[in-house]
């Protein structure tokens, strides 16, 4: 039986410590380009270091801070939680 496709969630809804990959950023082109240049893409795993305002995530060695309003417009595919 095929498994259900992963459901994207807003980055702002993710808890600290969770990992995942970018699904879609509903932001202006400049902001999308900046996120991509900082390494946030569907090919890279990020780790959410701090949830809330601001959201801090780590991609490779890069720490990226985004305001909560930005985080609510970034949709990610979270990695499954380890029980």
């Amino acid at each position: 039986m095929p498994s259900n496709p992963p459901v994207p969630v807003a980055l702002s809804a993710l808890g600290s410590g969770r990992t995942g990959r970018l699904h879609e950023a509903r932001l202006d082109d400049e902001s999308v380009g900046l996120l991509r240049a900082l390494g946030l893409s569907d090919a890279e795993v990020f780790r959410l270091c701090k949830a809330g305002e601001p959201c801090i995530l780590q991609v490779g060695s890069t720490r990226i801070g985004v305001s909560r309003s930005v985080a609510s417009r970034i949709f990610v595919i979270p990695d499954p939680q380890v029980a």
Partner: protein, 652 residues
């Protein structure tokens, strides 16, 4: 040593990779700061002296990606296109601890440029994180020289100088296949290429701990916390502000007294006349009026550079973004707005920290509303006039002036964001750099560069303005009043009693100054513009005071003192000004007039040096003109409302 005309090396890299530190090592004191042609982005150029040649070094803005649609990326693309015609050298500095991301920019440069040198900086940070980068392997893979370095310690700088010398004189080596992405490769393809290259040359120690991660995460949680982060922000910014005042006060006093002595010497040795007056009051006064700002500007940029190096400013921007965003201002605006409480000049110059042009313009336009130190003498005089023998109300009014200025700044920012500079401040997305010990050397070079830049550009304008304002106040020459002549005669008669004679001469000087002010072009303009200020309750003397203080607000106190014929000490000035009368015998300063004038001074743009700096920082006269018209309009309307309301309530 020969200089090779036209030979240039451009320095390029991601933000926070130590590019400025490397530039300072290469060029040191031979650097200067100016704006990129047609932009307001700062450009640093310098010269690198090598045994056989001198290379001009151009420090380009830090960018992550050549293809981004940002001002910085456009500037870099233009500079690189120009370089291709000159066969120049591109020195790209990369963070060894974050190689895959930094190699994206390297790949884009290799795809379009012939001569590239890669500086593998922060090798020490990479080592602490258990990362080893094979520099030789990277050089083979990219077919370009790779120089490992720790720029903060100066390690590897000599090797880079040798590499630049070799590359400047040599021919381009043929690249091996796969050494660079295709010229038309997509961003995704370049990213894949960068990951492949990084994977081939970076090894991670299997038992390595992610260096400093726990410390960084704990610090980030505190420094960006809504409550603790704000408390730290208040302490840090309060400390910066106090340090700025404390450090700058001594050299400012020294500059003041030095120029006063210089003026005294010129007065003593030069024959009386127009040349002496021009030199002492116009030129020396103008230079003093420029140089006196220098300590604040240098210390501010020194302290900001230290703070920026630590990595704190990026966190503080997030703390303030929550509040400032509501008014259409970015979190980055807090340093310029806070600094403007000391002086709007360094405040406006520090808007260079703000990446977005719209955000920068809004901040520049509203920064002069913040009550600066030059307003303090005026506030002190006006509150003393308003609240005679009311020791509680005067300080409260003083504090209210600061709040009124800040409120006007935030509301104006909101207005500009919804009208001529439509749009919300740029969404906060920032790289949070690693915490590190700041570089004293960088801070000193930054302070020096910014100070020189201020003197060269704004300084010349300010001095010219000072000379013009002096001329308006000094001409046409007015015959001394008969009363002054009588006093001088009396002084001569009592010359045997030195104290009495000096007092009489001083009174004569004040009478002559008053007559000169009244009869000068400035006085004439005061009379002419008085009808404009009549609804605010101002007579011609107060109007003339407003005009002369257009140069600098603090001039208002001395102008009023001259017109009142008051003494030099503060108590004498306030008493003299309080008892000033109009031509019909009514007092110049009623409560309503004083309150109206106080509000006018809180809100008005009465600082020509600020307009000169706004013109320079925005790159267009129209923004300086808008600032002048808008602030003067707001000040006039607010002062009118205060005067008319108080008069209607019977308070006068």
């Amino acid at each position: 040593m020969t200089s090779s005309p036209g030979l240039r090396a451009v320095l390029i890299g991601n933000p926070n990779t130590g590019k400025t530190t490397l530039f300072n090592h290469l060029c040191g004191a031979r650097a200067k700061t100016s704006n990129f042609p047609g932009t307001t982005t700062a450009l640093r150029t310098g010269s690198l002296r090598l045994p056989q040649l001198t290379v001009d070094v151009l420090d380009l803005p830090g960018i992550y990606d050549l293809t981004l649609d940002t001002t910085e990326a456009r500037i870099v693309r233009d500079a690189l296109d120009a370089d291709r015609q000159h066969h120049d050298l591109v020195v790209v500095i990369v963070d060894a601890a974050n190689l895959a991301r930094n190699l994206v920019l390297v790949g884009q440069l290799l795809a379009r440029h012939a001569r590239v040198i890669v500086c593998l900086n922060m090798s020490d940070v990479a080592a602490r994180r258990g990362l080893t980068v094979d520099a030789d392997g990277l050089a083979d893979r990219l077919s370009v020289p790779v120089v490992p370095m720790v720029a903060s310690r100066g390690d590897g700088v000599e090797a880079l100088r040798r590499a630049i010398a070799q590359e400047s004189q040599g021919e381009r080596a043929a690249r091996t296949a796969g050494a660079a992405p295709a010229a038309d490769a997509s961003h995704q393809a370049v990213s894949v290429w960068a990951r492949d290259v990084a994977a081939a040359v970076v090894t991670q120690a299997p038992d390595a701990e992610p260096g400093g991660r726990e410390f960084t995460e704990r610090m980030d949680r505190i420094l960006t916390h809504p409550v603790y982060g704000f408390a730290v922000f208040i302490v840090v910014m309060g400390g910066l502000f106090l340090a700025l005042f404390a450090l700058a006060a001594v050299p400012m006093d020294l500059i003041d007294s030095t120029f006063a002595s210089l003026s005294g010497v010129a007065t003593q040795y030069l024959p009386a006349g127009a040349i002496r007056d021009l030199l002492t009051d116009g030129v020396i006064g103008g230079i003093a009026g420029t140089v006196v700002f220098l300590p604040q500007i240098c210390f501010l940029f020194f302290l900001i550079s230290l703070l920026e190096d630590t990595g704190y400013l990026a966190r503080a921007a997030f703390v303030m973004d929550r509040f400032l965003h509501r008014f259409g201002l970015p979190g980055h605006a807090f340093v310029p707005l806070l600094t403007s409480h000391a002086c709007a000049l360094p405040g406006i110059m520090s808007t260079r920290l703000i990446p977005d042009r719209r955000d920068r313009l809004v901040t520049i336009l509203v920064a002069p509303f913040m009550s600066c130190s030059a307003r303090l003498p005026v506030f002190a005089m006006m509150t003393s006039l308003l609240f005679v023998d009311e020791p509680v109300l005067a300080p409260l009014a003083f504090a209210a002036c600061f709040m009124l200025g800040a409120g006007a700044a935030f509301l104006s920012a909101l207005l500009f964001s919804r009208t001529i500079l439509k749009g919300r401040s740029r969404p906060m997305i920032m790289e949070l750099p690693a915490y590190q010990v700041p570089s004293l050397r960088n801070a000193l070079w930054t302070a020096r560069d910014q100070g020189l830049s201020f003197l060269k550009t704004a300084g010349t304008v300010i001095m010219a303005i000072c000379v013009v304002m002096w001329w308006l106040s000094a001409y046409p020459k007015v015959a001394p009043p008969a009363e002054a002549g009588a006093l001088r005669a009396e002084a001569a008669a009592t010359a045997t009693v030195p104290g009495d004679a000096a007092a009489l001469m001083e009174r004569a000087d004040r009478l002559e100054s008053r007559a000169q002010q009244a009869g000068s072009f400035a006085g004439w303009i005061g009379h002419t513009i008085q009808p404009v200020f009549a609804p605010l309750g101002y007579d011609w003397q107060l109007s003339a005071g407003l005009l002369t203080s257009f140069l600098a607000r603090e001039v208002f106190v001395s102008t009023m003192a001259v017109l009142a014929g008051a003494g030099d000490d503060e108590a004498g000035v306030i008493t003299g000004v309080r008892t000033m009368t109009r031509e019909d015998g009514r007092p110049v300063f009623t409560r309503a007039t004083a309150a109206s004038a106080l509000v006018f001074f809180v809100l008005a743009m009465q600082c020509l040096p600020t307009l000169a700096v706004t013109r320079r920082e925005t790159g267009a006269l129209k923004w300086a003109a808008l600032q002048l018209v808008y602030m003067s309009g707001v000040a006039y309307i607010a002062a009118l409302i205060v005067y008319q309301a108080l008069t209607a309530m019977g308070i006068s």
